[in-house]
Symmetry: C2
Subunit: 446 residues, 2 copies
């Protein structure tokens, strides 16, 4: 038996706004950040579990405080017991009634639970000597159903229906796993499409994306419609007619505005329209989807929890569901969302980018590909080529595909040197005078 002996939280920030990396219509100057948690035990194996919440700068310290508030749920507890019953461990935190009040099940507190849950999965996978996707795909259908909290979901999926889905996939696991390991999982790239890049950089990055084997790219839109038309024309000219181009408005529009704006851009053949409006607005997404059909609506990266996911599906508010590894309460809740999508035939194309989101979310898609839907060809995981060098086991993306991780763990551990270097505000990157002004750019943005 071993005990959880520590839960350490760190405020890690990268000054990405200096280069306009990650700039879009709602987020002109993000500093990609991680509220990073490391869970340690007294076991002799020396394994720890690491994970994080991705944020874009200011407020990362609030996220840090929320993770620290979960210490009592973890530290001092029996590690084997927590890890063996991850469904119960999840419920212990999510249903802590006092903490639940702070959401409920949304925002800072819910994401904090996600980080702790994901760190525990990282620990469990390291102890098992397996990458997380394989660990999950080796669990029995009964064990998988136990991970999920079906409260608020039973009007869309019951535990019995979930069990049936996992059981139906079970005979195909070995064959699907082999195929995944041999062929990888499709990726698309957002690297060319940030709003802050000039035309030459846009054209060059589009060209490189095609050369790198990607068959879909994505452009940020929603700042200025004439600019968007111009940038879309450049992109379409560079990539030619056979590469899919998705557009991402990052929640910029109201309903009528979304429909009109998309109308200006549809001449360029749009693969999907992402986050046209508020991520809470199921009904507006449904209205937009109806009015811009057959162009698909995509959303999900800011979907607060499985209840919003359920409604997006019920209302036919989108046809591309973009799960995020750190927005909801971790692996367990994302399995619930994958189940909802599987039952209702919605394709899942995860959101990634940021800091470590690619490293984390690939495990969920690969688990789905082996042990749930088995669908791969109509799906793809977002890829942005930023900040992977700070991770112990960075993604392997080449030839336009993610290649299945083989290292034990969830992919969410950062390098010790990176953690020290980018700690805010005292790490060397930030401690230069003025660099860590917390209100840098805030007033201008407002």
């Amino acid at each position: 038996m071993s005990r959880i002996t520590g839960l350490r939280v760190r405020d890690i920030r990268f000054p990405t706004s200096r280069e306009h990396d990650g700039s879009d219509a709602m987020n002109p100057a993000p500093d990609y950040s991680a509220a990073y948690v490391e869970i340690t035990t007294d076991a002799l194996d020396g394994h720890s579990g690491s994970a994080f919440v991705f944020t874009i700068g200011r407020g990362n310290e609030v996220q840090e405080a929320a993770i620290a508030a979960l210490r009592g749920h973890v530290v001092g507890r029996d590690a084997e017991a927590l890890l063996a019953d991850m469904g119960g461990t999840w419920r212990g935190m999510v249903h802590d009634s006092q903490l639940r009040w702070l959401g409920p099940e949304k925002g800072v507190m819910h994401m904090a639970i996600g980080a702790v849950v994901n760190a525990l999965w990282d620990l469990r996978a390291k102890r098992a000597g397996q990458p997380l996707w394989a660990l999950l795909a080796d669990l029995s259908p009964e064990e998988l159903v136990e991970l999920v909290d079906f409260r608020y979901l039973t009007d869309a999926i019951t535990p019995a229906e979930a069990l049936e889905l996992f059981r139906a996939a079970e005979p195909h696991r070995a064959e699907r796993r082999q195929r995944l390991e041999q062929e990888g999982y499709p990726a698309y790239t957002t690297t060319p499409g940030w709003l802050g890049y000039d035309d030459d950089k846009l054209a060059r990055l589009c060209r490189e994306a095609v050369e790198d084997g990607f068959t879909q790219i994505k452009l940020k839109v929603g700042g200025d419609v004439d600019e968007d038309v111009r940038r879309m024309r450049i992109a379409r000219d560079v990539v030619g007619p056979d590469i899919r181009i998705a557009i991402d408005a990052n929640q910029r529009w109201d309903v009528d505005e979304a429909v009109a704006w998309v109308g200006e851009l549809e001449q360029f053949d749009i693969a999907w329209v992402e986050e046209p409006t508020s991520p809470d607005d199921v009904l507006a997404h449904a209205e937009i989807a109806r009015r811009i059909a057959p162009i698909p609506v995509a959303t999900g990266e800011h979907m607060a929890n499985r209840v919003i996911a359920k409604q997006l599906i019920q209302a036919k508010a989108m046809s591309v569901l973009q799960i995020d590894a750190t927005r909801v309460a971790g692996v367990n809740e994302n399995i619930a969302i994958l189940l909802l999508a599987a039952k209702h035939g919605v394709r899942v194309c995860p959101h990634a980018g940021g800091v470590g989101l690619c490293e984390a979310v690939q495990h969920l898609s690969m688990f789905d590909a082996v042990a749930l839907t088995g669908s791969v060809d109509d799906r793809s995981i977002e890829f942005v080529d930023h900040l992977h060098e700070h991770f112990v086991t960075p993604v392997d993306v080449h030839g336009g595909r993610y290649w299945a991780p083989t290292a034990p763990g969830a992919g969410t551990e950062m390098l010790a040197d990176s953690l020290d270097m980018y700690t805010y505000p005292d790490g060397p990157i930030w401690s230069a005078e003025g660099a860590s002004d917390p209100m840098r750019d805030a007033i201008r943005i407002a």
Copy 2:
């Protein structure tokens, strides 16, 4: 000209769980708490602005950190400029793109903005020498519309429509104000109905509620259906057929369960069914409302923002909208929600209780009664007789009605002695050994 010189945050907790005050099916052991903020200036008038986020214990320190993260938006700024343009001040915080990522517009970060916004309103009202409701009701229709952010709302209400609503009410303001001051505003009470009370206490408090002039009470339900039937029978026997009894499930049910449970209780004549399921679940509320009609569904205390409010109205998911003073981003966002309700003919019966929620929310209903809908008779504000003694200007509720505050401010300032006494974990109430164990009751609840 004066400057904002300080933003002080304090962690204030009351050990209410010791007496089962506030216990319901989801929240068996709440410690009513306030993440309390005081904003000071260098003006010679000595006025400060105070407000808070209401929480139920653990995690209050996370809420405190979120309020502190807003310091840069307030401290050092020109007080007159911030207060004169409260619409712009609101947008400066809510649209801070880095902080927005932590919601967006929901949970800990959004509620923190609400506290700061409300503290600024408290300061403005004190400077004006007016109670907040009267200050708001004296603003011009144009000034009121300026307070509201219509992003994501225009499919349900436009700025022009909002202006029209305020203008239509303007000729009636004086007469309505006089009526409010003479007749008060209807209240209902939840004091009898907490789950943790025994039968004798339930019966006694029901009797007292009727004697005190209340014409509606509310019972918590959702723990055990046979228990609920038994408790409802006691309550109905005590109050007789003419007093309305609402029930509150505090998000306990899925759809089918809600319908079945209400079926067991409808024999007792139910005034409304409150929070039957997840507060995010617009579609489930709509389905429940359809199936239990004509019994009304009520919800809103955990409604994350105006976008959820809009959808609840659009989907006919409830017919009683329960705004809360500290769940959304303050007075401005609640004005947006009042406008949505006014345009679509939905009655608003605010959630209150907790710590200071009665003191705060009454100003919004009274503003609505004077300057917006003018509807009073079909509405009522929740009242719970707890913790009012800690406020500088506690509510005046007697004869089953709230009486319009006359003191300048928003009602949200606590007494200095109370703040010192209940500071967590170092105040005298908590510093007794063991009293401040942060995980008290957590494991049991989980």
